[in-house]
């Protein structure tokens, strides 16, 4: 899709993608960066490790207490049975930590593990449809061969075992580097599941919604009377320059306002806004926007100052 599909913001990164929702609306999404995903994974692995160690230590502590009881009892049978229960519990818990941790969190309404949430990313369906349980299951079952198995293999082989160590490292690297070799940074599990990891949208409510901050209506009636620009003066700029001007006005930095004022007044050959740059620019913004939007309604768009 062309840049026209994202008319609202200047292209920022090569991670911006267009996703089409089932309603047919093109939404811009940003694919999560590899760094934030690696960070999220590290946090999650640390959490799993802590959970595993804490569980093991607790169960060993309980088992130690049981042995104490056992020594004071004539028959060992009840204590043995309780001990067996602990072993069962430990085996099942370890299995769940390893396999169900990611499933549980990614199936929740937030679609993200604690690590992902901290990194500001989440999973979504690549086709813009519903994120289903099957997708989450598929992408997490593959984690086993991507991460856990080669790690275990690597640890058991040891660096001195030569060929096995090289094989394990190669295995690990193939999957670890998999996201480097495709455009959407999919790991093997994402390929199988039809999911991808995207940045959770930031909340920019104040900027857009507070009435006074929007230059359009707040200052238009005041400024309109003072500065009027004719068609020729407004025709020099397009949407790109309008967006830039809007950003400068929102940032409210005196230095940049002055620089932009100089550029614009130089270009259109007016200097009556001296020492009143902000009001001048706001009036210019409003009238330029009105002109461009009127043309838009007629089906004519002017992308930037170079297009006609």
């Amino acid at each position: 899709m062309s840049t026209r599909a994202i008319p609202t913001r200047l292209r920022r990164t090569n991670r911006d993608r267009i996703m089409v929702t089932p309603e047919g609306i093109a939404l811009p999404v940003t694919v999560a960066s590899r760094g934030s995903r690696a960070g999220a994974l590290l946090i999650d692995l640390m959490l799993i490790g802590v959970l595993m160690i804490a569980t093991t230590v607790t169960l060993i502590y309980v088992a130690g207490g049981l042995r104490g009881i056992n020594e004071r009892m004539a028959s060992a049978a009840p204590a043995m049975r309780a001990l067996e229960l602990l072993v069962v519990l430990w085996t099942i818990l370890m299995f769940l930590f390893r396999n169900a941790y990611f499933l549980y969190f990614e199936l929740g309404p937030r679609g993200a593990t604690p690590g992902k949430r901290l990194s500001g990313i989440r999973i979504a369906a690549r086709d813009g449809g519903r994120l289903t349980a099957e997708m989450v299951i598929a992408r997490n079952l593959l984690r086993d061969i991507e991460l856990f198995l080669p790690a275990v293999f690597l640890a058991s082989a040891g660096a001195d075992s030569g060929a096995a160590w090289i094989a394990a490292t190669a295995w690990f690297l193939i999957f670890a580097l998999f996201p480097l070799f495709n455009r959407d940074r999919l790991r093997a599990g994402d390929v199988i599941a039809g999911s991808w990891v995207v940045e959770t949208p930031r909340r920019k409510l104040e900027a857009a919604m507070s009435l006074a901050a929007a230059p359009g209506e707040a200052l238009a009636p005041v400024a309109e009377g003072k500065y009027r620009f004719d068609d020729a003066e407004l025709a020099v700029y397009g949407e790109y320059e309008l967006q830039t001007l809007e950003r400068v006005l929102r940032e409210k930095r005196a230095a940049s306002i002055e620089a932009v004022y100089l550029a614009i007044s130089g270009k259109i050959g007016r200097n009556d806004g001296w020492n009143d740059e902000r009001a001048f620019l706001e009036a210019y913004y409003t009238q330029l926007r009105a002109r461009l939007e009127a043309a838009m309604r007629m089906g004519r768009r002017k992308a930037d100052k170079f297009s006609d």
Binding site: D144, E217, R289
Partner: protein, 342 residues
């Protein structure tokens, strides 16, 4: 300006696009409030009215965005709308909140439909498993050294070539009253589930390693079968194995078939793009795999308890045969109207 009421503000706005925004702002803010609550996981604090209005509001705001894109150049409004629609999209099209409803659909037809959908792969996997058993048998029959190569050392306590029929019979019967059955069952489940997840995940390499894993595991079976056959205990061994084996081998068959299904879709995607083919197959196979884990829980319980507590071959064969016919009936005879379309 802030003191002016809403209607006056709309009239005062100089630009048509600003009037458009002011007229619809209330809906946008309501949607934003609902979405924000749901993002924080506070579903209970969303009122029923809001919850019912959510899909409608989502569509309203989405259409606002479409209109704004064509009529407005207010970058801040557009960015706000885009991020709001995206956040609402995550909520509206997010994972189904209730695990229970998913489980109902899964057990009540989704699982068996997924199993039927990978029928061809199951057939291939079954052939491979039978071939693996035969290979194991033939290898050991030709040279008994193969037995030690095939069978993991944890099984070769008493069960070695040359052991007397008496000893071998002892490994099949007379284990009742043994301690640690529960721990044994839990260990078996964890171990088998990990193996079947591996068989599934290896399907990613075009299914070849999945098949190799199946061959390797069934070759052990073939070697064992040969051993007991030599002692004239074939039927007793089959009975001993069938208690849990019909469930466990079926589960491993499903896992291998699911892995193969993915591998096949990636190697031969047909008309579809590879990524699409892989993800369609992956979703179907994932459903099968969720069931495999359930089956392995059942198998571990049977292996850990039923096999040790039922100590004669006919009863063991009955249990194993019943489990097998139960799974076959559930997967292939039990069809709900419309389940296959899903």
């Amino acid at each position: 300006m802030t003191a002016v009421s809403g209607i006056e503000a709309i009239q005062a706005a100089a630009l048509r696009s600003d009037r458009f925004r002011l007229e619809r702002e209330a809906d946008w803010k309501r949607l934003e409030a609902i979405v924000a609550l749901m993002e924080k996981g506070r579903l209970r604090r969303v009122s029923d009215d809001d919850l019912l209005a959510l899909p409608g509001l989502y569509r309203t705001v989405a259409s606002s965005l479409s209109i704004a894109r064509e009529t407005s150049l207010d970058a801040a409004t557009l960015a706000y709308l885009e991020s709001l629609v995206q956040r609402a999209w995550f909520v509206v099209y997010g994972p189904r909140s209730s695990l229970g409803s998913w489980l109902r659909g899964f057990l009540g037809g989704g699982w068996s439909a997924a199993v039927r959908a990978i029928g061809l792969d199951l057939f291939i996997a079954l052939c491979v498993m039978v071939a693996g058993t035969m290979v194991g048998w033939l290898l050991v029959a030709s040279d008994t050294e193969w037995f030690y190569a095939l069978v993991p050392s944890q099984f070769t306590d008493a069960r070695v070539p040359g052991a007397s029929a008496q000893v071998l019979r002892g490994t099949l019967f007379g284990n009742d009253g043994q301690n640690g059955l529960g721990a044994f069952a839990a260990y078996l489940f964890s171990n088998n589930a990990q193996v079947s997840i591996l068989a599934f995940a290896l399907g990613f390499a075009f299914g070849v390693p999945s098949l190799m894993l199946l061959v390797q595991n069934t070759a052990v079976l073939g070697a064992m079968l040969w051993l007991y056959h030599g002692a004239g205990l074939t039927l007793d061994f089959v009975g001993w194995l069938s208690v849990h084996g019909t469930t466990e081998l079926f589960a491993i068959l499903l896992a291998g078939g699911a892995g193969l299904h993915i591998g096949r879709a990636m190697a031969f995607p047909g008309e579809r793009p590879v990524l699409q083919a892989a993800s369609e197959a992956g979703r179907r196979a994932a459903q099968v795999m969720a069931g495999v884990v359930l089956m392995l829980v059942v198998a571990a319980l049977l292996e850990g308890f039923a096999r040790q507590l039922v100590d004669n071959t006919p009863s063991r064969l009955v249990i194993g045969g019943f489990m097998l016919s139960f799974w076959l009936a559930y997967f292939f005879a039990f069809r709900r109207q419309g389940a296959d379309a899903a």
